[in-house]
Symmetry: C2
Subunit: 213 residues, 2 copies
DNA sequence: CGTTATGGATACCGAGCTGTGTACTTAACG
DNA sequence: CGTTAAGTACACAGCTCGGTATCCATAACG
């Protein structure tokens, strides 16, 4: 409710502590990773005393979990609500990642924390499953014969692009998007791409034409 | 040269230090991660004194890099040399991962170390590029129209399966293999898989070029 | 104005980490 | 056997980390 911390805050930095902490988390955890970011540094960046930080969060673990939860509204889910796009376009739009995306924070957290029971790891799992579900849902809208499968496939592509971008330090989302286009057109019987080939079976037969966009 | 450390070593633990250290690294770095494995614990597991460890490796960084280099001969590269398989089968065999594969160690190292300049991160990058190259090479053998693209695509699928298996804690390599099969068959003009569609030149004139963007 | 919740500064604790120094023991080999 | 390289045992330095305690300042609100 209190939106006052958004003010110029010129006089003082008080009262917006929690938001400032989470803001600094977004930046530091992504830039340096979770394990390499100490609470001291984080509090300094947030201009918050350590005491205050530990009054808002019982510990770093809880802070990390909350930090992950704050990603939701910003990135991925947005594309699913874009009514200006066809379902097929929405599926492909999920591969338009901002360049400022070093590594999907959910994957990063799962790897860094290395404990599947950690609240943040649990949430990362839930999130990944939810994204796959939304992809599947959109795939159904697009008329895919097996939406669940297509959703899982596209989710895998996104994760692959994210991981590979990080490791090889080369943009991989375009490669993933290309694959996605193939899979989508293969999964939709009479594709909106207009290409009706004589049925038979799916996989090898359909020439793809990922032309859209 | 000394292969004597392979003996029963019943009497004492001396003399095989380096190998024991690397052996313990394989186990502990994978089970617990790199950052969460201290040199003390590692030396204890290897039954090696700390002093000895630091005589073999200048520091943990070097040990981690060497640990990564030791993965090569075991896993992936093996499939490329299997002459009993057709090129297409070899490409698909790359997706047969042992269940004991929590997360590709190269991805894990790149994420955990979080420093692209770290020797281990550099090596991880080289390795990933090399694997993509070998996939491309095999793709060429298999007759793919654009082997480089197919190689990169398959590499992305492998990384995606690895990352997703870790985060969602559910086997994803079968999904990746299914996608791979589609991509391979789409990329090979008249597939060696016996799936002859009626000659008509699909790939030549109706290019599969999924590569939009 | 006065009260109170919130936040700030800072010192500190205990633990774990990488890495070293010192002195001793043992295995390998001629 | 004697030499030498390899390994052992263990303490310790120096640092960072997560988390706590104490004391003080101030902003919000009646």
């Amino acid at each position: 409710m209190t939106e006052l911390e958004k003010g110029p805050l010129g006089r003082r930095r008080g009262r917006g502590a929690r938001e400032r902490i989470l803001g600094a988390s977004q930046q530091l955890f992504r830039e340096q990773g979770i394990n390499r970011t100490g609470m001291d540094q984080l509090c300094a960046a947030a201009q918050v005393s350590k005491r205050t930080a530990y009054q808002h969060f019982t510990g770093k673990d809880e802070l990390v979990a909350e930090y992950l939860r704050r990603f939701d509204p910003d990135v991925m889910p947005g594309v699913f609500d874009r009514t200006d796009l066809t379902p097929r376009e929405r599926l492909l739009a999920a591969f338009d990642m901002p360049a400022s995306m070093p590594l999907c924070p959910y994957i990063a957290a799962a790897v860094e924390l290395h404990d599947p029971q950690h609240p943040a790891s649990r949430y990362a799992r839930e999130y990944k499953v939810a994204i796959a579900a939304r992809l599947a849902e959109t795939a159904r809208e697009a008329g895919a014969t097996d939406p669940e499968q297509l959703g899982e496939q596209l989710a895998l592509l996104i994760d692959g692009a994210s991981a590979r971008t990080r490791v090889t330090n080369s943009e991989s989302f375009s490669t993933a998007a290309a694959i996605a286009a193939v899979l989508i057109d293969n999964a939709i019987p009479a594709s909106a791409a207009g290409r009706a080939d004589d049925g038979r079976d799916t996989a090898a037969s359909a020439p793809v034409r990922a032309g859209g966009r």
